[in-house]
Amino acid sequence: MRDRELRQWRALVRDRADREWRALSSDVVDELACHLADLHGSALAVGASDDEARRRALDVLNAASFLELSKRPRARRFPGGHMHDIRLAVRQLRATPIVTVVAVLSLALGIGANTAMFSIVDSLVLRALPVRQPGRLAIVSDDGHRAYWMTYPIWSDIQSRHLFENAFAWSTARFNLAERGETEFVDGIWTSAGIFDTLGIAPILGRGFTDADDRRGGGPDGPIAVISYSFWQRRFGGAADTVGRRLTLERIPFTIVGIMPPDFFGPDVGRRFDVAIPLGAEPLVRGKETFLDGPWTWWLAIMGRLKPPQSIETATASFRGVLPQIRAATLPPNASPETWASNLKDTFTLIPAANGDSGLRARYQRPLIAMMIVVALVLLIACANIANLLLARAAARVHEMSIRRALGASPWRLARQLLVESLVLSTAGALLGWLVARWGSQLLVRELSTQTNTVFLDLSLDWRVLGFTATVTVATALLFGIAPAFRSSKVEPIDALKEHGSASARGTSTAMRIFAVRINLAGSLVVAQVALSVVLVVAAGLFVRTFSKLATLPLGFDRDRLLVVTVDMQRAPIDAVTQSLRPAQRVPTLERALESVRRLPGVRGAGLSLLTPVSDGGWNGRFEVPGGVPLTDRERRAYRNMVSPGWFATFGTLILAGRDFAETDRAGAPPVAIVNEAFARHFLNGASPVGRTVRQAARAPGEFAPAGFEIIGLAADAIYKSVRDPVPPTVYTSIFQPGGPPFASLRLTVRAAIGPPALLSRSVAAAMTAVNPDFALTFRTMSDSIDASLTQERVVAMLSGFFGGLALLLAGLGLYGVTAYAVARRRTEIGIRMALGAAPGGVVRLVLTRVVLLIAAGIALGAGLGAWAAQFVASLLYGLEPRDPATLAAAAITLAATGTLAGWLPARRAARIDPAAALRES
């Protein structure tokens, strides 16, 4: 209890310091938290209520300024001589500002990108939930990775068996805050009362949930909600009297009873809840269509805290032991034997939930690993570049080094000096990279968010990210610093004298030896750089082409100028008794709305449907076409949608044979259906379906509803749930004919005659609320939905494209640097050659030959490496082979062109050397 309280105060102190942009050491945070906890305790002791006591302590915290505390000096002392090395290193780096700036910038990008990626991996994959003993938490799963969603009856049964010390069930949701008209969503969760006790988290103000709150229809305090700290700050400005205030959710007034600590975001990683509502209040929102009664509504994830000293294996064994009883108690008696067999299979297992549950993690783990490798390669390329720069400088500093040797410096002292320079360089890069990482990771998280899914990741500092950056910084410094340091330590004191001797003496000096070695080493570094760049450019090519293929894929409809309005009629009171629109009245009411929308200026067409493509939902069933292809029960699966007349025309989906639904296809008329080409191919081997009958399967396998639908039309194939998936067999039925599932929301799709469809939102909202003022309306353009469904591919393409380009730039810079350096060194030789009659073209060839050889070696190595590595990203590609020859060839040509250009610029300068001037200088 005391620990939990202290943890909360610690979190508040940290949050306060963060808002003041102050960094406090953990000792200071602990001490201040202790002080506040004492203050809180003393207030309680003199009779203040818990809220009042907290408020007093919060007032003290809020009135404080952390300016002086953050400056708390700490004793730091560098071991002897190192401070001097650092000063010297800084001076050296300042002496060659361009080299330093290029090096620091490429390191900043390299280290920054690595840190950004790692901080996302850290928060998504590695970091434990900020709760009490997260290692004791477990979730119920069937695949060993994610939570398996259960029905409410199953959750009630599990809860009553006390399999865990504490447990809770939850489901993510978005709640509408708007009191009427257009929706304003907030991320929330439905949760059972045990959530806060199970996780060991207490609200900082007010209270959590009690079992009484979880009673069906609400507890003694009516509908209640607990809100997050950030929502408290955002919506209520952190007002101390927020507890007790009202908050309208889904048009129902809820009372706020508690505020959670700042670092608590809920059981889902990648998402933050702002409002938590007890499951018991769900029937208030969904009315008769409540999920609590649904034996087929799988929506609740379950997390429990293991009983000590239970291990996850023993807990799984005892869970599996009671599965048959749970199944018997929760499956409806009319369930088919297939359902009996497939429901609550024995493969259920408990998996550790220290890191929470995360759909984002499941989806992005592979792309993230691919991107981690990409950014690591970028850093390697940057290191190769800097190593080359430093080698060049080491060769130029041979004289300085030999003098220092002559003055008594040991070889180790010289090597140390150069290593310190590398470390200073990489530290400067890391510091700047840190800013790049903060900005980059936040940008990336924003890019992952869509209109309907706000991604939240806790990107605050932790020891892992700090350790990673520190390790990368030191490793980078060693990687690019060790070769120049080693070479410089080999300098002999006598070289100082030789350097000032005759030109012939110079031929045998260490400077020349170093130069010769440098050329070899630099050549190898360039080859490595080009090879790695080829890999990155190949990866970029594959990902960018995947995205562009998906983005330009024919969808089966015209995505532009479509506005989709999701109409939620749950809280549209028509019926005086149930206070909600009776399902039977929903379609006629919407039809009136549809008519008035169709009459609006700027509207070319409009249609109603249960679902729209790439929406969150899907509806499938098993079908048969008498006289069609014989299929197994599993193969009979097809998707379904219910649409109004004019829906196909609104989407621009062609009716290839037969006719569209007509106004006369209503209740009472013969049931009709339209199927798509995929359906005709799958069920009828491509024969015309028009005039045939399609029947939907009953629950038991092999049985079908006696009354079928007459197929009146064949629609062109159009995507259903995802752009990536092949078009599934789909059956469309008329929305005006009975037979659909109970639904509270429908989609009205509007095609704009001209201009952006979003501009129609206002007039459509006005027309619809004139029909029923209690419709909850959500507007989204179809283009936006499709773009959002390709977020993963877009982000991967964007990142790999950026890093591929960066790799190309770095490789080009590297080649340019090496060639320019070689030209400068060979100035005299080139001058002599030209004086002896060499043509400028010959000089360019002389210089370029070596560059071209290096590039060719790099490309050959890189192409092999790229072809081998591409197999690991095969699952992230679409419509492309991992060893796509066109992509490999394009990457090779790009690298060859960039490299040749980078080599040609210094070669051209070499050809313009004035022989007389070059010979005079020598």
């Binding site: 005391r2 602990d30 202790c34 002080h35 004492d38 003393s42 003290v60 404080a64 300024s65 505390l69």
Partner: protein, 143 residues
């Protein structure tokens, strides 16, 4: 607006800021304010040292003691108190140590060091001399 100064004759004397040339006003006020601020800082350190002279205390206890013994006249801002404690610790006048007593949460107790005692004695002497001076010059006495 008036500022109180002690005149060299010993009697309290009021100087109107209007009597001072404009260019001087700012510097006089700044000088005066910073003197007071420095004096206040010095006093805070003296008070903390004095309270720790007889027994070790943790931060919260110290605020309670100071508030109680000064009858509420002297209060410390939460953050300033710890800033003062850390400063004294840096100077090695006091020493902080995390102590966990049975049945209580872990707290940081501060103890005066031998060096701190010397400083306290010296400061007391200094303040005493200062007040004697003020008494002689301004006729102000202190309890």
């Amino acid at each position: 607006m008036f500022v109180a100064f002690a005149s060299c004759a010993g009697a309290q004397h009021l100087i109107s800021l209007d009597d001072i040339p404009d260019s001087r006003i700012k510097s006089v006020v700044v000088e005066f304010t910073s003197t007071i601020r420095e004096a206040k800082k010095g006093t805070a350190e003296l008070v903390v040292l004095a309270f720790l002279e007889d027994e070790s205390c943790h931060g919260y206890e110290l605020t309670q003691l100071i508030e109680a013994r000064s009858g509420g006249a002297l209060t410390f801002n939460f953050a300033s108190l710890y800033a003062t404690l850390y400063k004294l610790e840096e100077r090695k006048w006091i020493q902080g140590r995390w102590v966990e007593k049975p049945g209580q949460r872990r707290r940081r107790y501060y103890t005066i060091t031998a060096h701190g005692r010397d400083v306290l004695a010296a400061q007391r002497k200094e303040w005493r001399r200062f007040f004697e001076l003020i008494r002689d010059l301004a006729g102000v006495t202190y309890a």
